[in-house]
C-alpha cells in the first residue's frame, strides 16, 4: 500500500515537471480530448492502455476498484503521453510510473508532466521505445558492475545459470514501482529525483547530459545494494530454479530502508559516473550490432521457409501434371 507521500517527493516531482515544461517536443497536456484519433496505432495504443488500467498498483486502494476515478485519470495521463511522445506511444511499465505520479502529485496534469520529465529527461533516450535498446544495455552494464562489486555472488549466479537481467530488467523499467515495499520505494524515488540534483541541479540543467547520468546512477546503486543486502541468503541456494523463485520476490522482504540506502551510497563506492557512461555506450554499440545480425538471420529463416513452400508447391504441381498425363 502506497502511503501518503512525504512532502519531499511532491516537491521533487513538481520540480522535475516544471523543469521539463516546454522542453518536450510533443503537444503537451491537452486534457482528456483525443489528439490523434482514428489511426490504427492510436487505437492499438488505446486498447493496450485500457487493458492495463485495472492491472496497475492493484494492491493500492485508489487503483484496486474498477470504478475508481483514479483509473480514468491514469488512462488520460497515459493516452496524453502517447501523443506527447509517439516514438514511445505506450510501453507497459509506464502505467506504474504514471500511477505513482498520480498518487503523489494528486493532479492529472502534474502527473503527466512528471511522467514526461522522468521518461524524456531523467531516463536515457530509447528506454521505452520499440526496441527497448537502452533498457537492454543497462542490464549488461548492471551485470558488469555486479561482477565487480559482488564477485562471489556473480560467480554463484553464473554457476547456476541464473541471468539476473531477467529479474532486474523489470526493476529498471518501472524504477522499482511495485518491486519494493512502498516506504522503500518512496525513499528511492526521493533519491532518484533529488539526490541527483544535489550533484547538478535538476531544474536548471535539464537537458544537460551530466544530469541524467547522476540520476541514473541511483537506480544502479540501489539494484546492487539489493543484491548486497541479501547476498548471504542467495549464496545459500544451490539450485538455479530456486534462485529464480527467490529473486522474483526478495525485494519485497527488505525492511531496513536505512541499511539499504547506506549500502547503496557508501558500500557501493567508488561509483564513477564516467565508467557507467562508457559502459553504456559500449553495450549499446554491441547490442545494435547483435540486433542487426539477428535481423539478418530472421530474414534468412523467412526466405528459407518461403523457398520450402515454393518447392513444395512446385512438387505438388508436378505430381498434378503427372497424374493428369496418366489420365
Amino acid at each position: 500500500m502506497i502511503s501518503v507521500p512525504p512532502r519531499s517527493s511532491k516537491a521533487c516531482c513538481g520540480g522535475a515537471s516544471h523543469g521539463s515544461t516546454g522542453s518536450g517536443s510533443g503537444p503537451g497536456w491537452s486534457g482528456p480530448e483525443p489528439g490523434a484519433p482514428g489511426s490504427a496505432t492510436h487505437s492499438a495504443t488505446n486498447r493496450q492502455i485500457q487493458l492495463d488500467l485495472h492491472r496497475t498498483l492493484t494492491t493500492n486502494q485508489h487503483f484496486s476498484s474498477p470504478s475508481s476515478p483514479a483509473l480514468q485519470q491514469l488512462r488520460r495521463v497515459l493516452l496524453a503521453f502517447s501523443w506527447q511522445n509517439p516514438a514511445i506511444g505506450y510501453c507497459q511499465g509506464l502505467n506504474r510510473l504514471a500511477a505513482l505520479a498520480l498518487l503523489v502529485l494528486q493532479s492529472e496534469e502534474e502527473a503527466f508532466w512528471c511522467l514526461v520529465a522522468v521518461v524524456e529527461n531523467i531516463l536515457p533516450p530509447d528506454y521505452y521505445t520499440k526496441q527497448l535498446l537502452a533498457s537492454q544495455a543497462d542490464q549488461r552494464v548492471l551485470k558488469d558492475f555486479l561482477s565487480e562489486k559482488l564477485p562471489r555472488l556473480s560467480a554463484h549466479l553464473q554457476l547456476h545459470s541464473v541471468d539476473v537481467s531477467l529479474v532486474c530488467f523489470n526493476w529498471f523499467l518501472v524504477v522499482f514501482v511495485e518491486s519494493l515495499p512502498s516506504d522503500l520505494l518512496l525513499r528511492l524515488w526521493d533519491a532518484f529525483l533529488y539526490e541527483g540534483s544535489k550533484v547538478t541541479p535538476i531544474i536548471t540543467q535539464i537537458g544537460d547530459h551530466a544530469t541524467p547520468r547522476s540520476l541514473r546512477e541511483v537506480v544502479f546503486r540501489y539494484a546492487l545494494a539489493l543484491f548486497k543486502y541479501k547476498e548471504e541468503d542467495i549464496l545459500k541456494i544451490q539450485d538455479g530454479v530456486e534462485i529464480h523463485q527467490y529473486l522474483r520476490f526478495f525485494t519485497k522482504t527488505i525492511t531496513d530502508g536505512r541499511r539499504l540506502t547506506s549500502i547503496a551510497f557508501s558500500d557501493m563506492n567508488p561509483f564513477p559516473g564516467r565508467l557507467l557512461r562508457n559502459r553504456r555506450v559500449l553495450h549499446l554499440q554491441r547490442l545494435q550490432a547483435e540486433l542487426q545480425d539477428l535481423e539478418d538471420q530472421q530474414e534468412e529463416f523467412l526466405t528459407e521457409n518461403l523457398t520450402e513452400i515454393l518447392t513444395e508447391n512446385r512438387r505438388d504441381d508436378k505430381e498434378l501434371d503427372v497424374s493428369e498425363d496418366e489420365l
Partner: protein
C-alpha cells in the same frame, strides 16, 4: 541411461500470447489454484514453479510468464532459450488476439528448436471460454485443422477463472515433452554408443543429453 525411481525432470515451459489474454491467470490457477481478476500486468518476464508426480518420477515445470506487449519481443530470444514446450494463449473474446497466434508461433519456431532440430511441443489455449467462444464459432474456424497446419500438438478451451481444462492442457503438454525427450534419447543412442563398446564410457556427446 536407465530410468530409475529417483529421476527428476526439469522442463522449462513458455507461456506466450498477446497482452491481457490471461497468461498470468492461467499460471496462477495452475500453480496456486486460485484466481484474481486483477493480477498486475507482467513486465518482461515472471517465473513460477510447479512440481508434478509423473509415472513415479518427479517433474518440475518452470513456467515462464512472458510479457505480451510486442516491444518485449526483442528479448524473447533470451527468454525462449532451452525451453522444452510452450503454451500460446489467446482470448476468445478478442479476435485480434487469435489472429496474433500465428505470429507468436512463427516467432517461437524461428528462435527455438530442440537439440534434434525439431520444434518444441506447443499447445494452443483458447482462454476466457467462460465468457463465450464467439471468436471460434462465428468465424467457422476448424481448430483441429488450424492446429495441424500450424504445428500445435493440441488445443484446449480454458478458463483460468472457472478452472476449466488448465490441468488437462498442462498434462497434454508434459506428455508431448516427455515423448519428444524420449525420442531424442533414442535417436542419440545409435549415434553415440556403438555395439562394439563395452560400456557407456565412449560416449563423447554428453552435451546432447539434457542432464541439468
Amino acid at each position: 541411461m536407465q530410468n530409475n525411481h529417483t529421476k527428476e525432470h526439469l522442463f522449462k515451459i513458455l507461456v506466450i500470447g498477446d497482452l491481457g489474454v490471461g497468461k498470468t491467470s492461467i499460471i496462477k490457477r495452475y500453480v496456486h489454484q486460485n484466481f484474481s481478476p486483477n493480477y498486475r500486468a507482467t513486465i518482461g518476464v515472471d517465473f513460477a514453479l510447479k512440481v508434478l508426480n509423473w509415472d513415479q518420477e518427479t517433474v518440475r515445470l518452470q513456467l515462464w510468464d512472458i510479457a505480451g506487449q510486442e516491444r518485449f519481443g526483442n528479448m524473447t530470444r533470451v527468454y525462449y532459450r532451452e525451453a522444452m514446450g510452450a503454451f500460446i494463449v489467446f482470448d476468445v473474446t478478442r479476435p485480434a488476439s487469435f489472429e496474433a497466434i500465428t505470429k507468436w508461433k512463427e516467432d517461437l519456431d524461428s528462435k527455438l528448436s530442440l537439440a534434434n532440430g525439431k520444434r518444441v511441443a506447443t499447445v494452443l489455449l483458447a482462454n476466457k471460454c467462460d465468457q463465450g467462444g464467439d471468436v471460434l464459432t462465428n468465424n467457422g474456424i476448424k481448430m483441429e485443422q488450424f492446429c495441424q497446419e500450424n504445428g500445435f500438438v493440441g488445443w484446449y478451451e480454458t478458463s483460468a477463472k472457472e478452472n476449466i481444462n488448465i490441468d488437462e492442457a498442462a498434462n497434454c503438454l508434459v506428455k508431448h515433452i516427455i515423448a519428444s525427450e524420449n525420442d531424442m534419447l533414442q535417436a542419440e543412442v545409435p549415434d553415440t554408443i556403438t555395439p562394439q563398446l563395452e560400456n557407456d564410457k565412449g560416449r563423447t556427446c554428453s552435451s546432447c543429453f539434457r542432464s541439468q
